[in-house]
């Protein structure tokens, strides 16, 4: 099993296109996942009885195999990018929802009381106090969801999409390992880089977690 380096040289354009398409699918899924799970998490956090229901529901969704999710969506959205993104989004929900609820839980009650005492309205408290303080836990969820999505995109190759996953099908059908090795390597690299960028983003977004204690 040897790598045919010239194949890589001949296909840099294809590889770029596939990598970008791969990244686009994964990032869209995380974006829509956040869009859905942030409001749901706030609801689950505020209204106790709904909490178990929402978290339980997202857990059940997670046990459905990814290939099954894509296939089950076929009658709805067909062999399209939409199917890929919807399927991946469903998978991000379990992680994003759980982490956002846990993040909101971790905000100290005294901080919220202080905000209330200062006359801050509930919605403003949520935006300017609770969500920022919950950010480290939420970001941990975003990191897991992103890496997971990047890895899962390739499953969509069965429904004709799948970004770098197409290299797996290609190599498999032609009994030619180079595209497969390149595909696996690029997927891992993409996950690694995305994760590192998210760590950097979190560092920038939460300056209070690493600011030096100033002398009073």
């Amino acid at each position: 099993m040897t790598i045919d380096w010239s194949w890589i040289g001949d296909h840099t354009d294809d590889l770029t296109t596939l990598t970008l398409s791969h990244l686009q699918a994964a990032l869209s899924a995380v974006f829509f996942g956040l869009l859905i799970s942030l409001p749901l998490a706030v609801v689950a956090h505020r209204i106790r009885p709904l909490r178990g229901l929402l978290l339980g529901l997202s857990n059940v969704l997670f046990t459905i195999p990814s290939i099954a999710v894509f296939v089950l969506l076929l009658p709805v959205s067909g062999l399209t990018r939409t199917t890929t993104v919807i399927g991946l989004t469903i998978y991000t929900l379990v992680v994003l929802l759980r982490n956002t609820v846990e993040g909101l839980d971790s905000v100290p009650a005294k901080t919220k009381e202080a905000a209330k005492a200062m006359g801050t309205r509930p919605f403003r408290t949520l935006l300017t106090v609770e969500l920022p303080l919950a950010l480290p836990v939420i970001m941990a969820g975003v990191r897991i969801a992103t890496v997971m999505s990047i890895s899962l995109v390739s499953v969509a190759t069965y429904i004709g999409d799948g970004g770098l996953g197409q290299l797996f099908t290609d190599g498999f059908q032609r009994n030619y390992p180079t595209p497969v090795i390149v595909g696996v390597a690029l997927t891992l690299l993409l996950a690694l880089v995305a994760d590192a960028l998210l760590v950097a983003l979190q560092y920038v977004l939460t300056p209070w977690t690493h600011r030096k204690q100033r002398a009073a």
Partner: protein, 220 residues
């Protein structure tokens, strides 16, 4: 849409669909065989590793990175890669499924071990327990709920992913999904997908019920 679900219902309950070597009964047995064997092998590798890392406190960095590496590894690519290297054998299926299950078991075992109260371990050592007694009589029982969660998580993921066996021409419930895709037979594809989902959800519910029954006497 309605027609599709009606056909799906007929497909799922028809008697001939359930019997024979490509019947649902046989495919289900194959699917469970792949999943259980892969999870057992993964547990045999991952449990000692997780216990060792948790007990010694060394290699935590490895455990955490193994988890994120495991999450990033594309299963489809791994299956195809091993298939091209080994030819037509069960290796691709088992390598991919074991690689999928190991990180989940290692990280949860490790998490369970680190969650054990250090005072309890100190007390055990103070009573003169040897390291293996501390490990097997104190740490392991206390870490067991989280270890079980890891095993459950791994099994569910493996059941869901064992569909892939059909991709490299073996059996299991994935057969319906891939044959259906090849034959443009949506009912068959959906039937396979629904069966896998039902098996995964049913196993998850059964294992969590078992877990609750086993640890009924524990405070949460």
């Amino acid at each position: 849409m309605y027609e599709l679900f009606k056909n799906l219902g007929t497909w799922l309950v028809s008697g001939e669909q359930w019997s024979g070597s490509d019947g649902i009964g046989h495919r289900l047995a194959e699917h469970l065989q792949y999943s259980l064997l892969a999870t057992l092998v993964a547990a045999a590798i991952a449990l000692p590793l997780g216990l060792l890392i948790g007990h010694t406190g060394r290699g935590a960095f490895l455990a955490i990175n193994l988890a994120s590496f495991g999450r990033a590894l594309p299963t489809v690519g791994l299956v195809v890669l091993v298939f091209l290297a080994s030819g037509l054998s069960m290796w691709p299926v088992y390598v991919a499924l074991v690689a999928l299950a190991v990180p989940a078991i290692v990280t949860n075992t490790y998490a369970g071990m680190t969650a054990v109260d250090p005072d309890v371990k100190d007390a055990a050592r103070g009573q003169g327990m040897r390291w293996h007694q501390v490990l097997f009589q104190v740490e392991l029982p206390l870490a067991l709920p989280l270890i079980m969660t890891g095993l459950r998580l791994a099994l569910i993921q493996v059941v869901a992913t064992a569909t892939i066996a059909a991709y490299v021409s073996f059996g299991g419930l994935g057969r319906y999904v891939f044959d259906g895709l090849a034959q443009r037979d949506l009912v068959q594809v959906l039937g396979g997908a629904v069966l896998v989902a039902v098996v995964a959800v049913a196993l998850d519910l059964a294992l969590s019920a078992l877990q609750r029954a086993l640890f009924r006497h524990r405070p949460a």
